[in-house]
Symmetry: C2
């Protein structure tokens, strides 16, 4: 199997609210207003929003209705960008679980939770390389 992730689908209970959140943080989608799946091109991959019950069925799993062991991260180029992105997410409706602060692994990060309960770490990791268009390279 190729060492890749092509799509991350986030199950949502309120698609319009979830879409509004990701658009409010500046993301662009080509989806029509009444589409039932919203795709965002995120670098070389895609992040999708879809009805959570349908996603559970399609994924052959039972939905235990909370968090299930997956956390996303957005890495940025500086501590200041962590602060700014965290504030942008908060203003768009995210809950701030952890305010921006130094981390045990030598970086600086915050933790925000989108309106559907999906957590994102917003991180500056001085050990990794960020490419000009936002890609991440392990040291």
């Amino acid at each position: 199997m190729r060492q890749r992730v092509s799509v991350i689908t986030l199950g949502v209970s309120d698609l319009a609210r979830a879409r509004r959140f990701y658009e409010a943080i500046g993301w662009k989608t080509g989806a029509q207003p009444d589409d039932d799946v919203i795709f965002f091109q995120t670098g070389d991959m895609v992040l999708a929003l879809w009805d959570r019950a349908k996603l559970a069925e399609d994924s052959c799993v039972e939905d235990t209705s909370g968090w299930g062991g997956v956390t996303l991260a957005l890495n940025v180029g500086s501590r200041r960008e962590v602060d700014a992105a965290t504030e942008e997410a908060r203003a768009a409706g995210a809950k701030v679980g952890r305010k921006p602060a130094e981390t045990f692994w030598g970086g600086y990060s915050s933790l925000i939770i989108d309106p559907e309960g999906h957590p994102w770490e917003i991180a500056h990791n001085p050990h990794w390389t960020l490419t000009p268009d936002g890609g991440v390279r392990l040291a």
Copy 2:
């Protein structure tokens, strides 16, 4: 916030087993044998394996211990590659939730579940473009 995902962290209860699975499907990591986080470079981003209880704490969420609304996908270039990757995952220890078959959205996919319960769709989507190095572009 930049329209990107930098890291997907999968929480795992048995790190050695999870690492063995991803290595068995052909993925390479630079992690040392006793590292407690395993990073895989996946295109322009990183997939990480980490202790699920620690990830829950770090993510400011309670772990409801099952699936929590996130499904990953690997897109490949043909139906035959879906069949082959599904068999490779099964042989490495994944459960096959859905055998490869035509989908309601006009593609062809299977659904496998890794040893830690994280579902992956393995898909051929004729409506999207696959770049030579495995990236995905919306139509």
